[in-house]
């Protein structure tokens, strides 16, 4: 599948912005095996889509978009758990090395993970300082719709955090 080697600048850019991938993976994947598969899919889709990257937006924005699209459409073909024994030997699991979060941050992460999948994408973009117009351009929704959605999501999150 990988006939063309990934350009070295892509390797560098991905390594520079790997935090985006890890953050999204933790929002969408449940266990170590899922995280590993999703990470690999994200890298693969990035490599496939990269020739179409024209620099119209920042690389981080473009990567965010590809990673979220991958997370929103990625489903495993089976629910079978296979060969869990060799996982450690196969290398680092994405997101595994991240230090433990404070209880409040952990609570926020859990609350976001309980949201519907497209809402997770929208709130993570918002919290990473993308404005409503940018979120609308990335999601394909109208700016007004994004504003309404964000209002609902924030209320929902605040309620969940209050409830603990």
């Amino acid at each position: 599948m990988t006939n063309d080697p990934a350009p070295s600048e892509l390797l560098q850019l991905v390594q520079q912005h790997a935090g985006i991938l890890h953050k999204i993976i933790r929002l969408y994947a449940d266990d170590a095996e899922d995280r590993r598969d999703l990470y690999q899919e994200m890298l693969y889709e990035t490599w496939r889509a990269y020739p179409g990257f024209r620099g119209a937006s920042a690389f981080s924005t473009w990567l965010y978009r590809v990673a979220l699209n991958t997370a929103l459409t990625f489903r495993k073909k089976t629910l079978r758990k296979v060969n869990l024994v060799g996982l450690d030997a196969a290398g680092q699991v994405p997101g595994e090395g991240i230090p433990a979060l404070s209880p409040a941050a952990e609570l926020l992460y859990r609350a976001i993970r309980q949201l519907p999948e497209t809402d997770r994408a929208i709130i993570s973009l918002h919290l990473d300082s993308y404005d409503n117009e940018e979120i609308a351009a990335i999601s394909g929704m109208t700016k007004n719709h994004v504003a309404v959605k964000l209002h609902r999501i924030k209320t929902e999150l605040e309620n969940r955090l209050k409830r603990g």
């Binding site: 390594q15 790997a18 979220l68 073909k77 999948e117 497209t118």
Partner: protein
């Protein structure tokens, strides 16, 4: 909300601190549902290519050396069926292969693309099973009679045989259609529901 933003900053910092530089490997995972669908369609295409080539070759041989014009017509019908099958599946397969184009599009475009491609290919498969299986079964039946008795007239002269041929077509067609719908539902139903749900959330 300020609290949430502060907590998110903490998450960002922790994520960056925890990253361990690793060489990225640009390969698909073996578990992707959509890739599985593309693989499945590709295998189906190989079958259709093989059938088209087989019926084309058989038809040619029959036209050059065969004795029965009726057999030639039946083989021609099967060859045309294979070509129609190919026409139904090939454009969608080629579009599915280009999926990375839409990966850098908007969420809505990407979800719609996946949903539409899967729905269309499943619909075509179900249609093929419904319309072509009974005809193929009846043609096979007629071919066997022609091979044995020399002419299709043998069937046309006997109503019970004609009825048997039609019933064979209906039963095989119904079974084929039911199997196609059931197998696609088992294999891809949950994934389609998931895509539909994500699209619904964006409304």
């Amino acid at each position: 909300m300020e609290d949430i933003e502060k907590l998110w900053r903490e998450i960002n910092m922790q994520t960056e601190a925890g990253e361990q530089p690793a060489e990225p490997v640009f390969m698909p995972s073996a578990q992707n549902m959509f890739a599985e669908m593309v693989r499945k369609v590709r295998h189906k295409l190989w079958f259709i290519y093989a059938f088209t080539a087989a019926f084309g070759g058989w038809l040619l041989w029959n036209m050059l050396f065969g004795q029965s014009r009726e057999t030639t017509y039946l083989l021609l019908a099967m060859f045309l069926f294979s070509l129609v099958n190919l026409r139904l599946v090939l454009p969608y397969y080629l579009r599915m292969k280009k999926k990375s184009v839409s990966m850098s599009g908007t969420f809505r475009e990407t979800l719609q693309f996946y949903h539409q491609q899967l729905t269309t290919i499943i619909r075509q498969e179900n249609r093929m099973a419904t319309f072509f299986t009974p005809f193929s079964a009846m043609i096979g039946f007629a071919y066997a009679i022609i091979d044995d008795k020399g002419s299709i007239q043998f069937i046309l002269d006997r109503n019970w045989l004609l009825l048997t041929m039609v019933i064979t077509g209906i039963v095989v067609g119904a079974l084929g259609a039911w199997m196609a719908v059931w197998m696609n539902r088992v294999a891809f139903g949950k994934y389609l529901d998931y895509l539909k749900e994500n699209l619904r959330q964006m409304e």
